[in-house]
Point group: none
Chain length 132, copies 4
DNA sequence: GTGGTCTAGACCACG
DNA sequence: GTGGTCTAGACCACC
């Protein structure tokens, strides 16, 4: 069952030097995805800058840059001398507003997908596969 | 079947300034994808540099660079004073590449949706509703 | 007349090394204030990273960091090889929503001010003075 | 007159995690300001470390550090097992310092309001309306 | 020990 | 010439 497996997957970072995607963006992406699929939740602590730098064998500044961008975007919250934590999402929207926002971001996504030749069916199938 | 869908979907460009992918690469990729799934075929004319630049609100040099790189790779053919046309070179974007692109654009959508509190199920339901 | 003087004030950066406020934050602040009082508007180009670094006699990375934070926050838009520009504000809210937002940010401000012992009259006087 | 306002405004702490100012300094400053404008006077008891930590949802060590620094500066006096009390030291925050603080908290508010398209006039009108 | 700031300098990608 | 990325290393502030 997918549900029962959800929190059994550990947070595991990996960098691909050949991808052309900067390290700091790869880190951001992996954290965002972990939040999106509940491997990270509000209040969870991220690895320290230094420990993640050692683990990934990169410069601590590169990790710090990733964390800093996430902080600016309100996705994590860092407290000096303590660490970096997943921020509280303070989402208080009524249903109408929620639907309006969903419609808006979906429209952008569908347009973009179709520019690359993907149909509605393609994206729905893909999302369903992701969700398994 | 790809063949039966031919020309039923229009060529529509869209640029994402926030993706980090340079505009000229986004254009190249969208043209390649259009060729790969038969929305563009040998001999079809591309928009002129100037008109596409106006449409996308970018510098004509950027469009020119995209076309020029496509020409170097033998994918399009430019006729001075006439326009730019799809060459007869076969474009082979394998399934892995296609999926990589779909994954990338889907990621942004999913993380954005999740930042507003929408689950995977929410977005799938909404897309299915749109598609009815 | 205040109005006639508005756009006659030039953008002029200055850093105070003794303030304890990091250079990059001072730069961000000065740009934000310039936008808030219309010395900078949508589409205006900021000084280049290197030129501002020379002008302020600091490391270009420090300027880049300020610009990068502004970009993440959607306040400026940078295009590689071209420069950094004040972003379009795409504000499309109805009146009810606008008032709700104003109420919300004002409430936070008033609470904070009162924690420091400032009364409503104090902040109103101060704002009126700023606006002269 | 300051004297006539004494005790008519309550002591209310608030912390801004995004200000960049460490919590312990925000607490110190708010206490100093409260003494300076007579919301706190010689002999008044401060909240206990533990209760203030709970109220502000921060680590008790952070509150303790603020109180400890105030004690070193002779502004408060701690009696083991009893509590922390305002000492008889005069606090002199000159007008320039007061204005600096007001300027700082106002800045954040003004730039935030402006990012939503509100002008200085808008926010002043709104505050005046609130104050009626 | 934690994150924050800044510098110096190198190399790359974009227009 | 423009900004983007990354490194190495130093010093500081916070808890």
């Amino acid at each position: 069952m997918a549900a029962s497996r959800k929190n059994t997957r550990l947070l595991q970072f990996s960098l691909d030097p050949k991808s052309g995607v900067p390290y700091y963006k790869q880190i951001i992406l992996q954290i965002e995805m972990a939040i999106a699929d509940s491997r990270l939740s509000t209040g969870d602590q991220l690895p320290t800058v230094r420990s993640l730098a050692v683990e990934l064998q990169i410069n601590p500044n590169t990790v710090a840059r990733a964390y800093s961008e996430l902080e600016i975007r309100g996705i994590v919250h860092t407290q000096q001398g303590t660490g970096t934590f997943i921020a509280d999402k303070e989402i208080q929207l009524d249903e109408i507003e929620r639907e309006r926002i969903l419609a808006e971001i979906t429209r952008g996504f569908v347009t973009k997908a179709s520019s690359y030749g993907f149909s509605m069916e393609d994206v729905i199938s893909y999302l369903q596969e992701l969700n398994r």
